[in-house]
Amino acid sequence: MNRKTYLLSRFLQLVATFLIILTMLFFLFRLALPDPTTALVVEGLSAEEQQLVREKFGLHLPLWRQYFIYLRNSVFLGEFGTSFHYKAPVGPIIFEKFLNTMVLMVVAILISYTVGPALGVLLTWKRGGKLEIGGIVAGLVFRSAPMFWTGMLAVMFFGVSLGWFPTSGMRTLPFDSTGFLDTVFTLDFLHHLFLPALVVSIYYMGLPMLIMRNTMLEIMGEDFIELCRAKGLKERVVMYGHAARNALLPVVTQAAITIGLAVGGQVVVEVVFSWPGLGREMLQAVRTSDYPMAQGAFMLMAFMVLAMNFVADALYGVLDPRVSVPGEGR
């Protein structure tokens, strides 16, 4: 099995998994809402009118046909239905919120996956000292402090007490913008981005730091490090130039996986900072029983997890030529 067939099989697996999740969602939602007309139809509609509504939405068809219509709409047409709350198509709303989430998460993860590994190398370099223990403790503490808590503390301290940063939203209201890019490329946006990005990146920093340290410890025992030292290279060059480069692989793949999970996984940060992202939208959908919105948002989140896992697999092969087929040990 070469890399191409491996990736192809992973891709097929991705599609199959996604279909299974879609199916699960369909039946779960049907379980919760046996007759969607009750949610769509205003009260006091006559029986004939209700029937008309059912036909319009295809609800008079047998369940299996509804299921296939659902699959066709959500996979090929990108139609996720009409939001009960906004009375508008779910697709564009979700896409907009998705971009907002991504801009926050990608920035935060980039920061933590640049700083984290660098710290991890430092921990390996200064092994056995107080720095190492402190670093490990700090890494574990960062990972165990819930983000909504650190977020609240950050708002309270930097936002309210010191007044350095705005505490909610993406821009100071009211603002004019013609689109996403127009919103994002401003200083005001960066000002708003700072606190949430800080909180998210601190939370995510622990993992790459510890992973980096563990991989580094393995690599430090290898022959080529001895060779580097024998050549008389400075310890800093050995560490950052030779060992770290070889230890980056697990960190990079973890970064991809983290981005996938972050799309849906960090609702709390968006809630604390009133960031108009996908997670907050989904929470609102759950609160207002906006089934199509919740369903659409979940599909996108699950898709992102799958897609980024696939990217991680692909990266693995590209970055480490020695690994032709990852997962062979199975």
């Binding site: 490990i136 165990s144 819930p146 503390l153 960090q266 997890v305």
Partner: protein
């Protein structure tokens, strides 16, 4: 027969006992893990003994009573001294001293700009105090006498709520709500004054030794003259709360709905009052100056002809007035919800916007956190270990199918999935456990499976199979003990995850309703909007989540050595 089963049992304990003892030894040897173990033990103890540790009911709305003393003067009012933590019902002024009495039999003396609390032999609420030649205080069933700073019980009468006290020269009067009227004889003892009045009495005042008034409910107005009580010819119809007889020809009585009556030496007359709210107390300074006070900071001033409202800017309830030599002191008190109080001795972590004790809520929160952690991690381990065992042992098609399911589970992001579950079912602690259980076993299954794959190839498994052991027996008797350290590790990790998960869902308002958890406290703080400033509300629950989870991480880190001995040299 019995012997064999005994043997079998001891063998069982030998195998499993060792497996339990080893992780413990590892944890104790690692300093970080030891710290974790201590922290965790502490939290478990707190959770177990929560009702004994927590000083209050977590839902109790704490009220606070403050007594305040105000100096009312011409056109201004000034607050004096620090507030007391008990209600002040009455005050009397003598010279530059004031004595205020209130709930729980407490007495405070105001002297030289500061309060000194004095000990009394009672805990009954005190309603009246008077100071002249002698000093008395009266309240629920007791009359107290003060001599040289020492308070003694002068008289006890069960069931009588003494509401009013008056002194004039050697004479004195005390009235009780139940109609008791006591006269102070020159010898110093209290004697009942017989009368035929029914109705609750509220206050008494003496202009001199032989002349005074008693007021009470439904406009009761009695004249005290020469040792006997007699009804005044004019009768108001509203409850009267206080009376002050300044001279035999000048007295005021005040009562419900802002009613004010004036005595001009012959008869009582209703006066126009600018207030429609209740008046609680009235005191006359001289012919040209008098004050009346009531709830919601109502202060009225009499200037010799009419009453006007004085704006003190103060909204708490006034209950009593005291005058002497031009100094007018008003005491007030009111129970109010002790909202958003920063940490104090009564409330170690302060209170919420509803006056609930955050320390108590935090203590009870540890129960929810540990309950979820234990149940969820057990569910996770049971599913994960069994799936991993079966997949790793049988391999082939079984393995493929199970691992595909695991792959699918890996595609479900936790929080959104839990939100969907809450949307479809209703929020409860079981949904939290279900969500954690359904989504976390995937890791356990994978890890256990890979370990089982290698163990199943070892000679002793082959030997067991050759000896005719069943698959079930091989899996659970021969393989399972060997993966126990790993199971412990995963159990710990799952427990940490479960605590965070529960806190997260509760923070989002999707957690178990009517249960106190650290996440719920933070959720309430966020909803109230007070979290931007009320640090005491946010810091404790979050810090406890962090401490609990990090102590689990510390322990897990040590256990990792057991399942992955290679790490031993790296630490």
């Amino acid at each position: 027969m019995k012997k064999t089963s005994d043997l079998r049992r001891s063998a069982f304990w030998k195998i499993y006992g060792k497996m339990f003892a080893e992780p413990f030894r590892v944890v104790v040897r690692d300093p970080l893990a030891l710290v974790g173990l201590f922290l965790l033990t502490f939290i478990v103890v707190v959770a177990l003994f929560a009702p004994w540790i927590a000083p209050y009911d977590p839902d109790e709305m704490h009220r606070k009573v403050e007594g305040v003393l105000y100096r009312l003067a011409d056109g201004e009012s000034r607050r004096l001294g620090a507030e007391r933590s008990f209600p002040l019902n009455a005050v009397t002024v003598r010279g530059d001293e004031a004595i205020a009495v209130g709930g729980e039999g407490r007495v405070a003396r105001y002297r030289n700009g500061g309060w000194v609390e004095e000990r009394t032999p009672t805990e009954a609420e005190l309603f009246a105090v008077v100071s002249g030649a002698r000093t008395f205080a009266a309240g629920d069933g007791v009359l107290l006498r003060e001599e040289e700073g020492e308070w003694r019980i002068d008289l006890e009468r069960e069931g009588t709520l003494f509401k009013g006290l008056a002194l004039a020269g050697d004479s004195g009067l005390a009235v009780g709500e139940d109609g008791t009227v006591l006269k102070l004889s020159p010898s110093g003892s209290w004697e009942d004054v017989p009368h035929k009045e029914r109705g609750k009495m509220a206050a008494v005042s003496l202009a001199n030794e032989n002349f005074g008034f008693v007021v009470g409910e439904r406009g009761m107005l009695l004249r005290f003259e020469n040792g006997s009580l007699r009804r005044e010819p004019v009768r108001a119809f509203r409850d009267l709360n206080d009376v002050h007889a300044y001279a035999p020809d000048f007295a005021f009585a005040v009562g419900a709905r802002g009613s004010i009556l004036r005595f001009d030496g012959t008869r009582w007359q209703e006066m126009f009052g600018p207030e429609t709210r209740d008046l609680r107390a009235v005191r006359i300074v001289n012919e040209k100056l008098a004050f009346a006070v009531g709830p919601f900071g109502v202060v009225l001033k009499y200037d010799g002809t009419s009453w006007t409202v004085v704006d003190t800017g103060y909204r708490r309830n006034f209950r009593g007035l005291g005058v002497a030599d031009g100094a007018v002191l008003a005491v007030g008190s009111d129970p109010f919800v002790n909202e958003l109080s920063p940490p104090t001795r009564e409330h170690l972590f302060g209170t919420t916007h509803l006056g609930r004790d955050i320390f108590t809520q935090t203590v009870y929160g540890s129960r929810t956190a540990l309950l979820v952690a234990i149940l969820a991690s057990l569910v996770v381990s049971v599913i994960g270990v069994n799936v991993g065992l079966v997949a790793g042992y049988f391999r082939g098609r079984t393995d493929d199918i199970l691992m595909r399911i695991v792959d699918i589970m890996y595609a479900l992001p936790f929080e959104p999935f839990a939100m969907i579950l809450v949307l479809i079912f209703n929020p409860s602690i079981w949904i939290v456990i279900l969500a954690v259980g359904l989504l976390t076993w995937r890791t356990n299954a994978r890890v256990v499976r890979s370990q089982v794959l290698s163990i199943a190839r070892r000679p002793f498994v082959k030997a067991a199979r050759a000896a005719g052991a069943s698959d079930f027996r091989i899996m659970f008797v021969h393989i399972a003990p060997n993966i126990l350290p790993l199971v412990f590790l995963q159990l710990a990790v799952a427990a940490g995850f479960a605590i965070t998960a529960e806190a997260t869902l509760s923070f989002l308002g999707l957690g178990p309703p009517r249960m106190h958890s650290w996440g719920t406290i933070l959720h309430a703080a966020r909803l109230s909007g007070a979290w931007r400033t009320a640090w005491w509300w946010i810091v404790p629950p979050g810090a406890l989540i962090m401490l609990t989870v990090v102590s689990i991480f510390f322990i897990a880190r040590a256990l990792e050595v057991l399942s992955n001995p290679r790490l031993k040299n790296e630490r």
